[in-house]
């Protein structure tokens, strides 16, 4: 069972209380964008074995969105952080680097 700490209400929420929201930090390409950008926004997703960043919603609790950094291989949770960010905070990246030297995710390392 995945257990994530909701940064909005501080609850250690079990997966049953949460709803997954897919990959984190997508940049939206809408009307007027190129076909390649739009296709990338709609369909191209990371599928990492290791460090991953996701969106989750505390649907059966406070109802708010947040981000989680975790490892898809070991299910280790590195951190959760607020939804109002466009990239993983530096301190979380550093903490992951300490545990998974050389990790990359998209263009982030």
């Amino acid at each position: 069972m995945l257990i994530l700490e909701c940064p909005n209400c501080g609850v250690m929420a079990e997966e049953a209380e949460l709803v997954p929201g897919g990959e984190a930090h997508l940049k939206r390409f809408g009307p007027e964008s190129s076909d390649a950008d739009f296709e990338g926004y709609l369909f191209q997703r990371e599928n990492p074995r290791g460090v991953h960043f996701e969106r989750w919603r505390h649907a059966h609790g406070c109802g708010k969105w947040f981000h989680a950094a975790r490892c898809t291989q070991t299910l280790e949770v590195f951190a959760t952080y607020p939804a109002q960010t466009t990239a993983p905070p530096q301190d979380i990246r550093d903490a992951i680097s300490a545990k998974r030297p050389g990790w990359t995710w998209r263009e982030i390392r």
């Binding site: 609850v11 059966h60 609790g61 406070c62």
Partner: protein, 193 residues
């Protein structure tokens, strides 16, 4: 004015813990920036209770303020007072971005009494640490009971109150009754079989 009727007419089940549907209660959903003095003032004026910290519930007699989410407060008052209380909050906050709605008729309230047994009944249904060290009076927890959303808190060390949507009152009552069925004790919290 017609008499308010609860969804199950005060249904009651006595098992490991006593499950009881309570009479309708006045509840107001108040949403807005919880850091605002005006909003805090309107909420405390409606109840007399202190403004609750994160995940807390504060009581003053039969009125309470419960922290529901970073932008939502549950205002509990007697059923008959809910309409006026909601109007008073709206009046006080008319210049502020907020939402105050009387949701009394959308909710059902249950009481679980039986101390440790009541903890165990809830723990069977909710993904929450209900040990006495982790959850006690003064805290409010929103979560799910099996398939539906609920919220609960403790009135005292022995008694829980649980709210759910009125439309699922029968489902929740049946859930609680089955979880409290005689012979179903797990003894996880150390009260024996």
């Amino acid at each position: 004015m017609s008499d308010p009727a609860s969804a199950l007419g005060g249904a009651r089940f006595d098992g490991l813990a006593a499950i009881e549907e309570l009479a309708p209660r006045g509840m107001i959903t108040l949403r807005g920036d919880l850091g605002m003095t005006a909003l805090q003032g309107a909420a405390t004026a409606a109840t007399g209770a202190a403004f609750p910290a994160r995940r807390a519930i504060a009581w003053k007699g039969d009125r309470a303020l419960g922290w529901m989410s970073p932008d939502e407060i549950l205002v509990m008052v007697p059923y008959d007072a809910a309409g006026d209380a909601a109007a008073a909050i709206t009046r006080k906050l008319h210049e502020t971005h907020h939402l105050a709605v009387d949701v009394s008729d959308a909710r059902s309230v249950f009481r679980l009494s039986g101390g440790v047994a009541a903890r165990e009944v809830l723990a069977k249904l909710c993904p929450v640490d209900l040990s006495a060290d982790a959850f006690g009076p003064g805290q409010l927890r929103r979560t799910r009971a099996a398939q539906v959303p609920v919220a609960f808190w403790m009135r005292d060390a022995e008694t829980f109150e649980l709210i759910c949507f009125r439309s699922v009152a029968r489902y929740v009552f049946d859930l609680l009754s089955v979880a409290a069925a005689p012979g179903g004790a797990v003894g996880y919290f150390g009260h024996g079989a």
